[in-house]
């Protein structure tokens, strides 16, 4: 940890330039709840730290109407949790982000950091994938947009090019009768890492499911969009058979490993269990909308 340079630019261009100039030794600092822990353990040895919290766009939440929001990548979980309208519009996304860490961690941790750290078990991932969030990325060659499920290329790896910064994620507008939910399984009740995480986002109209997306975390090298699970739900009346079919699709999508956090059998089984439970919550919520 010798001689780390710290900069806190106020524009994206400066931040991007600083990252490029650092030549691979630069690290973006949002809340730091991953980065500082990694530095302390010796896993990361930055030469330059680029703090992005002075960049307005990254720190604001914008209401785009119709339930659509653009959320700055560095906004902390605590701020998002206190945003009543956002929480009402996207309860699943916000509950996922608010599950990160503890009260203290929430004060710092951002969804952008959670995504860019690229842990397959990160809590915001499945909920944002289910939501169909679109990421805005700023880099040396300007801006581009990608769906959130295209961000990760493997554990700890993203598709961001050198100098690219995640600026915001946009949650789309949804019709009436829509809602979402996120559930994770952890052995304890807090301060733990998901063994499996499932996000469900669905729309009900006239008693039928008209749209559904399912995101699945911690069961593969990257967070998964389980298209078959969504398909199993769409067109159904969300009866037990349809939900069981979606659960089976989740189990089939799992490519987990045996590790200290769970066995292959356990993770696969739990993917199905959580699909059912989070779908039930999403249905309840959608009915109220």
């Amino acid at each position: 940890m010798n001689d780390v340079r710290y900069s806190a630019p106020s524009t994206l261009d400066e931040a991007s330039k600083a990252m490029l100039a650092a030549n691979g030794t630069g690290w973006i600092l949002a809340g730091g709840t991953d980065l500082l822990v990694q530095m302390r353990s010796g896993m990361r040895k930055p030469g330059v730290i680029v703090d992005i919290k002075k960049i307005d766009e990254m720190m604001t939440v914008q209401d785009l109407g119709g339930g659509s929001y653009r959320i700055g990548a560095a906004v902390s979980g605590a701020v998002l949790g206190e945003h009543k309208a956002l929480k009402k519009a996207w309860p699943g996304v916000i509950e996922a982000i608010n599950l990160i860490g503890s009260k203290q961690v929430q004060g710092r941790a951002s969804a952008g950091g959670n995504l860019c750290n690229a842990s397959p078990a990160a809590d915001s991932g499945p909920a944002l994938v289910a939501a169909g969030a679109i990421l805005a990325i700023h880099g040396p060659n300007g801006r581009r947009e990608i769906p959130v499920e295209k961000l990760h290329s493997g554990p700890g790896r993203t598709t961001l090019a050198p100098g690219e910064i995640l600026v915001s994620f946009t949650l789309p507008a949804r019709p009436k009768g829509s809602s979402d939910a996120y559930l994770r399984l952890i052995p304890r009740t807090e301060m733990d890492i998901a063994v499996v995480g499932v996000g469900v986002n669905l729309t009900i109209s006239g008693g039928k499911c008209t749209a559904a997306r399912v995101g699945l975390g911690a069961v593969a090298p990257t967070v998964l969009l389980v298209e078959d699970a969504g398909k199993a739900l769409v067109g159904s009346s969300l009866d037990d058979a349809a939900i069981e079919k979606a659960a089976a699709a989740c189990r089939a999508a799992c490519k987990p490993i045996n590790d200290k956090r769970g066995t292959i059998e356990y993770r696969t089984k739990i993917a199905g269990v959580l699909l059912k439970r989070s779908t039930a919550i999403a249905i309840e919520r959608a009915k109220g909308n």
């Binding site: 399984l185 304890r188 733990d192 890492i193 089976a248 356990y266 739990i270």
Partner: protein, 759 residues
């Protein structure tokens, strides 16, 4: 309870160290610094088992800023000599090898070399420059594997002790232990029901929040000062003396405030290294372990296997009991096998008992004491088997235990016959509790288990000084890990008849008070409490002499009452009572300062018993456990400070719950620990637990002036089986392997449920 009988004992006064601790003023191990100090670091073996062919430290020594480098060559080798440390025994030959590996690295994380440098960063860099040539050997982690004849052998010289004829071939079984009572075969013949099961537990860490830390300063004239976070600074002194070859009185060890120990800080890791590095560099050396180092190379408590067989009459009378225990010792012999064996059936009056134990080495960190060392492991087996027996007989689990409970006069399998004990009272406290009288909530199941711990006495010294204004300092030598300062001050205030606020308890360094054995074995409030009471009595004797002098009467004609000297009767003469303050003020004229001293080897420690009951639910889809209600009853003798007694009971219960549910050491195929941190080593967090209700039972120990038994260890003994019994009853499947983690419970439920066709 004790309220009413005493003025101070049994009250919930503020602890003397409380303000410092809540304001952050208290100084813990890593808070001590000296001018010009260096930072020390340890190089640790990446291999579970390897011959150390050579160590090249030359590049590290050349690095600017490095002031000293050491390996095991810098410490004299030690004889094959067993010395006690708290409740465990250690061999000096092994302990020097545990501190710095010699011939072999025996576990991942085993220290191999150490450096001291002007900054921590340079020390870390220097560590990376040390080249060790290892020849990696096959390793063995599991106890059962390590006991097999073809297992890799850790120590070529290790011949199993306690078997006849003595073996001629080295193995990993360090020792066999036997104890018995009655005639076990005759017992089985009387039995109408027999239950037999085999259980396993995993290694668990004490999980103290404060990592090990030490600061050592060696002077040119040979004096050595050490500041260390420890449960026994006299042990640190003794170990350093032997390991470094320095006379005991040349070493002065000051204990810092301690952020938890639970037994794990009764041994030395960093102190001798910091001291030798300081001697070599001529500068003070500070060393602090990282959390990862704490997990890889300190503690833990052993895991083990326990086979239990119980035989009973149909009415529940247990007539025969057998138990076989094999415990992980870690890389060197010396698991808490004795206590595991002796405590196994100590709760019960059983005529025929046979216990066999094995102490087994494997490529893991050497185990250290952890609250009631060994007892939770045998209790896991015995109390689970009792639960099966209760189910088999259709008996209430408390009634079954009451029917067989040990009482005054019960002879234990390991020798002693119990004096006054409170097991029956403790069982009845649970039986009559609001918790036990209420049915579990729908969907919840109830588990019950009991536990025993000896509690120990041993060596203590104390002094009491009266200041010139009549206030009192009570000096003892045991680091305060559970509120003992408050308890000692309460006993002193009670004895002296003065206000608690007039008594200031302090913990002296090794050069400022006589020898004290470690803070461990639940001994401090009992044994050091006794020393404090005796030192105050010695002071009162002197105070009476001074009053007698003042009045011109015989000292025998003076009594001490309510903090004052008074004439023993009207025949002595008419004298106004003399207060402590008055006697202190005139001390210069009556013979100088007034102090009291005491030293003793405390005998008659009172055994303690606990009974726990828990209501919990198992989520049958996920295997997650939700605890709804938990009550722990314990005979504590006398609760000197009820809040800290309750705190001990609650803390022990929580640690036991963690042991039962999620805590375990996970090794990969290379024998490396995979979960060396609090994220994946899952101790319970506050939100996992309900309030633990502590029911304090008081059956005074007849061998202590205030009836103290000792409290800190019993409460970790019952929870493993209490939780396990509830889980097993909830699932209708008997669980025998810890931890009862969600994947394990889920797998057990699935294995017992017919497969769904669709899957």
């Amino acid at each position: 309870m004790s309220n009413g009988k005493y003025k101070w004992i049994g009250t919930r006064v503020d602890r003397p160290d409380g303000a410092d601790k809540v304001t952050g003023r208290a100084r813990f191990g890593a808070d001590f610094n000296l001018p010009g100090q260096l930072m020390g670091r340890v190089l640790r073996s990446p291999h579970a088992h390897a011959i150390i062919k050579s160590i090249d430290t030359s590049a590290a020594e050349k690095l600017p800023g490095v002031k000293a480098v050491m390996t095991a060559k810098d410490l004299p080798d030690q004889p094959n000599l067993i010395v006690p440390t708290g409740e465990m025994q250690v061999n000096m030959r092994d302990i020097t090898r545990n501190i710095l590996a010699r011939e072999k690295a025996l576990f991942e994380g085993h220290p191999v070399a150490a450096v001291a440098a002007v900054t921590d960063a340079i020390a870390k860099q220097a560590i990376d420059l040390i080249k060790v040539d290892y020849e990696v050997l096959p390793h063995v982690i599991d106890v059962t594997e390590a006991m097999k004849p073809d297992a890799p052998v850790l120590h070529d010289h290790l011949m199993t002790e306690g078997v006849k004829p003595p073996p001629t071939k080295a193995s990993n079984i360090a020792k066999r232990m036997d104890n018995a009572k009655g005639d076990i075969e005759a017992g089985w013949k009387q039995a109408e029901v027999t239950i037999e099961r085999e259980y396993t537990t995993q290694a668990v860490h004490q999980g103290y929040i404060e990592p090990h830390a030490a600061l050592a300063s060696a002077a040119e004239d040979g004096q050595l000062q050490i500041w260390s976070t420890t449960q026994g600074h006299f042990q640190v002194r003794g170990f350093c003396s032997r390991l470094l070859g320095v006379e005991v009185s040349q070493i002065r060890v000051t204990p810092t405030e301690i952020g938890g120990g639970f037994g794990g800080k009764t041994v030395v890791y960093l102190e001798p290294i910091a001291a030798r590095l300081s001697q070599k560099s001529g500068k003070p050396v500070k060393m602090v372990m990282t959390r990862e180092e704490v997990f890889r190379a300190s503690g833990p408590a052993p895991g083990g296997t326990v086979k239990v067989k119980l035989g009973a009459k149909k009415d529940g009378t247990i007539v025969a009991a057998e138990c076989e225990i094999a415990l992980q010792a870690g890389a060197f012999p010396g698991s808490p096998l004795g206590p595991a064996c002796w405590t196994s059936f100590a709760c019960y009056d059983i005529p025929n008992i046979k216990v066999v134990g094995f102490d087994v080495v494997s490529n893991r960190a050497k185990v250290a004491a952890y609250r009631a060392p060994g007892a939770p492991i045998s209790a896991w087996g015995v109390e689970s088997t009792l639960d099966i027996l209760a189910q088999e007989l259709g008996m209430d689990p408390i009634e079954l235990r009451l029917k067989n409970a040990a009482k005054k006069g019960t002879k234990t399998s390991y020798g002693p016959t119990f004096d006054t004990i409170g097991f029956v009272e403790t069982l009845e406290a649970i039986k009559n509790s609001a918790h036990y009288k209420t049915k579990p909530k729908p969907g919840y199941a109830r588990g019950v288990a009991a536990g025993f711990w000896f509690n120990v006495g041993a060596d203590s010294s104390a002094a009491a000084h009266v200041a010139e204004d009549g206030t009192v300092t009570v000096i003892s030598g045991n680091p305060d890990i559970g509120g003992s300062r408050a308890s000692l001050a309460l006993m002193a205030a009670e004895e002296l008849g003065v206000d608690y606020s007039k008594v200031r308890p302090i913990i002296a360094d090794t050069s400022s008070i006589g020898f004290n054995f470690v803070t461990g074995g639940s001994r401090v409030t009992f044994a050091t409490g006794l020393a404090v009471v005796n030192s105050v009595r010695d002071m009162i004797r002197e105070l009476k002499v001074r009053a007698a002098k003042t009045w011109g009467v015989d000292p025998e004609a003076v009594i001490w009452e309510d903090g004052m000297a008074k004439p023993a009767g009207s025949n002595v003469g008419e004298f106004e009572p003399l207060s402590l303050a008055q006697l202190a003020a005139s001390a210069g004229k009556t013979g100088g300062p007034i102090n009291g001293h005491a030293q003793l080897n405390a005998q008659g420690a009172g055994p303690g018993f606990g009974v726990h009951v828990v209501d919990l639910k198992v989520d049958h889809d996920t295997g997650c456990v939700h605890i709804d209600r938990y009550t722990a009853a314990q005979d504590v003798g006398t609760a000197i400070h009820p809040s800290y007694v309750e705190g001990q009971i609650q803390g022990g219960a929580v640690q036991g719950i963690g042991w039962a549910l999620n805590e375990e050491y996970i090794y990969n195929a290379k024998g490396r620990l995979d979960n060396a941190g609090f994220l994946d080593y899952r101790m319970p967090v506050a939100s996992d637990l309900p309030m633990i209700d502590a029911l304090v039972v008081e059956v005074p120990n007849p061998h202590h002036p205030y009836g103290v038994r000792g409290v800190g260890e019993v409460p970790i003994v019952p929870p493993l089986a209490a939780v396990g019994n509830a889980v097993s009853r909830s699932m209708n499947i008997r669980m025998t392997d810890l931890p009862l983690s969600p994947p394990r419970l889920s797998a057990a439920i699935d294995a017992a449920t017919p497969k769904i066709a669709a899957e």
